[in-house]
């Protein structure tokens, strides 16, 4: 085998593995990406039912209902719009009314959001950044602890010195 053909084989091997990787990435990108939407986005954009997405906002006060068989229903709001969510499973430890939440699942034709994953905060001192940004976009950013105490109506600004401040400010 000549030097040239060895080199050609090496280049062909590199090229084909690279092409395989790029092909796989492009294929997977087209099918498996999940977009983040706020309740306002869902109301405004008319997202087709059956689309998989991430919904983020605050859990509406007084909306949490526990049904039979560990099914829970709650509403996610960003004060402009509200989306009803149904979820079967155990809620995360830091899931609370008036607090930030991200739910991943599918929007059903009736406007109900059927979630298969619910994420709350890892730590009481911050909320998912997506939620913080979404709330800021709505002009009603407020610090997590105050949201728990207050009724969630006042449009507070980021509290100075709060542990949430730096993260959400960026």
């Amino acid at each position: 085998m000549t030097r040239k053909s060895r080199r050609l084989i090496l280049i062909a091997a590199c090229g084909s593995v690279l092409a395989l990787a790029v092909g796989l990435i492009l294929f997977a990108m087209s099918g498996s990406i999940v977009f983040f939407r706020s309740p306002t986005d869902i109301a405004a954009q008319g997202i087709a039912p059956g689309t998989r997405l991430r919904l983020g906002g605050l859990v509406k006060d007084g909306s949490l209902k526990r049904g039979a068989g560990e099914t829970v229903e709650f509403a996610v709001t960003d004060t402009n719009a509200t989306v009803a969510v149904q979820y079967r499973g155990l809620l995360p430890d830091l899931f609370r009314e008036g607090q930030g939440v991200v739910a991943e699942g599918v929007l059903e034709p009736g406007g109900l959001f059927r979630a298969d994953t619910v994420l709350a905060k890892h730590d009481e001192s911050y909320m998912p950044r997506e939620v913080a940004d979404a709330l800021k976009a709505q002009g009603r950013w407020q610090e997590g602890k105050e949201a728990a105490k207050g009724t969630g109506k006042e449009a507070a600004t980021a509290s100075a010195g709060g542990t949430l401040g730096p993260r959400s400010e960026r």
Binding site: M1, R3, R6, R7, I9, L10, A13, C14, V17, L18, L20, A21, L24, I25, F27, A28, M29, G31, S32, I33, V34, F35, F36, R54, R66, G69, E70, R88, G89, L90, L91, D93, L94, E104, H122, D123, E124, S125, Y126, P128, R129, E130, D133, T163, P166, R167, E169, R170
Partner: protein, 672 residues
Amino acid sequence: MIVETGHFALALALALSLVQAVMPVWAARSGDPALRQTAGQAALGAFACVLFAFAALTYAHATSDFSVQNVVENSHTQKPLIYKLSGVWGNHEGSMLLWVLILTLFGACVAAARNSVPPKLRANTLGVQGLITFVFVLFIVTASNPFTRVIPAPLEGNDLNPLLQDPGLAIHPPLLYVGYVGFSISFAFAVAALIDGRIDAVWARAVRPWTLTAWVFLTLGIAMGSYWAYYELGWGGWWFWDPVENASLMPWIAGTALLHSTVVMEKRDALKVWTVLLAILTFSLSLVGTFLVRSGVITSVHSFATDPTRGVFILAILVLFIGGSLTLFAWRAPLLRQGGLFAPISREGALVLNNLFLVAACATVFVGTLYPLLLEMLTGEKITVGPPFFNATFVPLAIPLLLIVPFGQALAWKRGDVLAASQRLFFALAVALAAGFATLAFAWGGPVMAPVGVGLGAYLLIGSALEIYHRARGYGASRTRVPGQIARRALGLPRSAWGTALAHAGVGVVVIGIAAQGWATEALATLKPGETLATGPYVATLDRLAPRTGPNYEEAAAFLTVRERDGEGVGHMVGHVETGKRFYPSRRMTVTESGLLTVGASQVYASLGEMGADGGVGLRLYYKPLVLLIWLGAVVMAAGGALALTDRRMRVGAPAKARARPLPQAAAVPAE
């Protein structure tokens, strides 16, 4: 006072690391080799200083010195001592100090190691290492000082995030950091070779023990992190393709590729430029990982609340080292004499294929991890790239890679024979197919990929065993059929051969463990005491609910008895499980403690939900068949790496080089 001294020691380490970085350059310019010695002494001094600083911070945590802000924010007088100690690195400042401690530890090891590294290469390596240390200590001193005082000192601290109050915190970060930071040595060696403009088998042999050490620790660290997430987060998953997990996986994949390409370079004097590039990329990915996790661009338990200047600083470090080293590579790499090309069908050809697939797999993880960040930065659109993406890209690249593992081992160096290799592997392939079909028939109607995975794992296991067998049996005239002689020869094989076989077998064990998760089951119900919940082959009965008090928490615990399922009825008892919800008053935070019952390598996993008003409680029960194999396999892999590390060849210089060009120290000197 001790705290101030620790702060001062850190400043001293900053100065010493600068000396360490500058001296080799000065030595090269002035032509005075004695100056090179200074770099080694500075490295040892810097390590001593950082160790003192770290001990000072540990002291402040252990004695709950609430005049130190870091202690106030992360400690509490009632916290158990083990979490006071491990809490030192359970926060941003402390974790960066641990990072630098390990960085200087490695620098000191290179300075103190008595293996036969040419003095110039050693000095340049220490210089590069010194520069890395300097920049990171500068970061700590200016932007992330753990020794900041609070006046007046509060009476009580804020306590550590309860999720982190776990023995895992004592083990996972140090292991992971030794892995991450250990690759800085490979990086420093690569940059030193570029500066020198020369690279050869001596270089490969000098760098291999360091890469292997880092790899062993990173393997253990990732496995430990995975197990911790599995039992702590209460979702029963062992890998989430979370950005922080990917951040540790990427250097691991690149490091694995580096290990294999270094072997080719050592044995065949080929793939030189590629190996240097890979060494640079591996540590660059470690830095990217540090940036992702520590800068706060990603929210997770790993990202402690940080201020944005730190993120910018780490980004600047990232740009400096990755950009600088790649620029140096582009400039100097053409000077490195290229090794020869080799036959595609050979051991080295298979290792090239291994490198190709590993790098491609690493690239898919990289794209999946960074694309969402990039897209959000450019368009503001927020997306999530989750498990479906990685399953569709990583897995198809990993399967052919695993298929060629035993195959490459069966090929000879220089010129391999596909037919002979296939004949040698015939037994492994036959058993693997049989195992795959047997599991398919046994678990008919289950997931398709699970039997494929079991077959693949069996193929890897038997392939590793066959490799040892064939090497022990010998080739050509020395071939023997006497079992006793084979056994004797097998024991006489170099430890690196056993290490390789063990590591590859560990991969097989991991693959079987992952595949078996296809048969995992889960059940969810609201239970009252006395009621039962069934999943897989087991039935759990809720015996009682009772409150408990821990050192710094109150717990509502559920006690379950697990019995075997016997048709529709219940068989004999298997064991007890406790799961609870712990409330930590200091942080006003509740954490679910999942309960695990281990049966062989399988586990029953219980996770407690909300207490209902009617006395019922939500309970999630998982059956995880052979789940422990995932982490045990990783431990086997690491054990293989550690075994190879004890091989004599890891400690002596490359003999061929020593003969060709006798240097005072280059004669093969075994370690003490």
